[in-house]
Symmetry: C2
Subunit: 350 residues, 2 copies
């Protein structure tokens, strides 16, 4: 476990374990990204995948928000779809459209053709980025590694892009359950290996992004998703770093997501943090949950909402402040920095 200069574990890692903290730790999903001018300048010269594949650039981008914002964690800069490329997927980032997969996976044959991933050979740049960032951070704040959860990766593979209804994904589930289970099994293995490699390279906590799982009914989640997320969580537990299990739109799935595993459950803004924590129980930590749009509003509203979230988490250790999803590209960086200051300053008041 990383130790700070003073010999106390960083507050992010303490919060993951529900140990007392001096103030609430805060970081942001997509804290490295398009809202930062220093990131946009780099993107004028390099493509997204170029940055991911060049450890010096990816490390630089990872560190930008740590320098600019005083956040309590770095998160390795990578795309959640990276591990799909060595599996055999033709991935493109169409301008303004997000990722597009030219050969979506919708048949037994297509699942069969997916190759296993050896992270050290297939994704060495991610692991090298982890090592570089750890060296640069030198214990200043911990580094979070991450991967997409099997369901969210499956939904991209099957739909070929982000989706509104996840029709193809759900149809594969219902109409070809054997194909579905084979796909999820392969993905669970890839995700586990990829995360394990990140931990061994130096990641001190892991976030599992099941970003799109909120499109499912509890009964579908239980049958088609939970066993695979649990498999990842159980195998990762052996690595001894905390796991943050995140999804959006999960207000109806919380108990099942918890059952799948994770030391911290990440939630979005569509549920009160206090209500969510009550349902999750007090023996798990929680991460969230400000609506990212709030950072585009007036400072006074923003301040009120930050206080609301902190108040709902008050009185017990184990809260990590974050947004309910990624920082929006339109966000003024000074508002992001202001949230960090508010969280550090106000969290002692509740």
């Amino acid at each position: 476990m990383a130790m700070t200069m003073t010999g106390v574990a960083p507050r992010l890692l303490r919060a993951c374990r529900r140990e007392p903290v001096d103030c609430t730790p805060v970081w942001f999903m997509r804290q490295a990204g398009r809202y930062l001018p220093e990131y946009r300048r780099l993107r004028e010269r390099y493509g997204l995948l170029d940055i991911c594949r060049t450890p010096e650039l990816a490390a630089e981008v990872t560190l930008q928000p740590v320098r600019a914002l005083d956040v309590d964690a770095a998160i390795v800069f990578a795309d959640i779809l990276l591990p799909l490329i060595p599996m055999g997927i033709e991935l493109e980032f169409a301008a303004g459209e997000g990722p597009v997969i030219r050969n979506p996976v919708r048949s037994a044959g297509a699942v069969e053709a997916l190759r296993p991933v050896v992270p050290e050979e297939d994704l060495p740049f991610v692991l090298e980025t982890v090592r570089l960032v750890r060296r640069e951070l030198d214990g200043h704040v911990p580094l979070i590694g991450f991967a997409g959860a099997p369901f969210t990766l499956a939904s991209y593979l099957i739909e070929g892009s982000a989706s509104r209804q996840y029709l193809e994904t759900k149809m594969l589930m219902l109409q070809a359950p054997a194909v579905w289970h084979a796909l999820m099994s392969k993905l669970a293995e890839v995700v586990t290996g990829y995360l394990r490699a990140q931990v061994r390279a130096g990641a001190q906590a892991i976030q599992l992004f099941d970003s799109w799982v909120g499109c499912l009914s509890p009964v579908d989640y239980r049958s088609y998703v939970l066993p695979y997320s649990r498999r990842v969580a159980v195998e990762l537990a052996e690595e001894g770093v905390p796991l943050i299990h995140f999804g959006t739109g999960t207000a109806g799935l919380l108990e099942l997501i918890r059952a799948a595993g994770g030391d911290v459950i990440g939630i979005d803004w569509r549920i009160d943090l206090g209500a969510a924590w009550e349902r999750l129980g007090s023996d798990v930590a929680i991460q969230g949950n400000l609506d990212p749009v709030t950072l585009l509003g007036p400072r006074q509203v923003l301040e009120g909402r930050v206080r609301d979230v902190l108040a709902q988490a008050a009185g017990r250790p184990g809260h990590i402040f974050n947004l309910g999803h990624g920082v929006l590209p339109q966000t003024p960086p000074e508002n992001v920095k202001a949230v960090v200051e508010m969280v550090h300053e106000y969290s002692g008041q509740f």
Copy 2:
């Protein structure tokens, strides 16, 4: 109140009032629509708005699923955006893209320019459709009228189309609250007048569609939406017909939606119906909540899921079976019919 031939109120209306029923009533959002071949044949000759504006055609489309499926209610065929047209909106239905508004409303001036609606003058075709359908149904099943809720209408007005993040909508809320409240106030008035006119023309129950409200945090819902939905509900209560208050993705908002009003709360599949009803309390009826994609799956899975929903509602009156959102265009009509039969047959078994 409509009486059937036997002098007993139809089971849909009984369920709305949580009175005992012979079996669970069932209808479907978008039960009149593209999945029905008889509807598609009409659409080859007429545009969507043409059908809405021609009472004989709209009545025919309204009655198609009643004849084909043995559902327990008809719902007037109309588009939720119709009342926006007399307010001054340029609405188009782009092929395959859904509704597009060419002049979105994002300023105080634009809100100011929105005209009030006089349903009898501005939307006479909807009211005439209601009257025609009532005559044709002759007490066979009740007729449901409907409108979009103020928030969902506002989101279309502001975004100009359906949206994924509702960024413009939320930004108007946060950055220009006075404009937001003026808009919602106008919309609440239009919606109330439009629904009242439908009831007076013969609608025997009303559904308020707040389809997109699930994008909001509880704190935003409470401040920016609840007062206006409540205003509609309170004013409608004077008309003496049951109100079904529906939204999707509302698992974190249920208590607030209930507080806004409605005799029946409509939920989607993202929460277990039993868990939702427990949170709503037993003094309100519930509608839902099968995932529409289930109707594209194998019959055996479909049957299991219908039984699951019925089992969760068992033991107390006040359940109306429905999907969690509209019937998908790809749905085989025979599966829709099969669900009606299953609900009628199995609901006595729980």
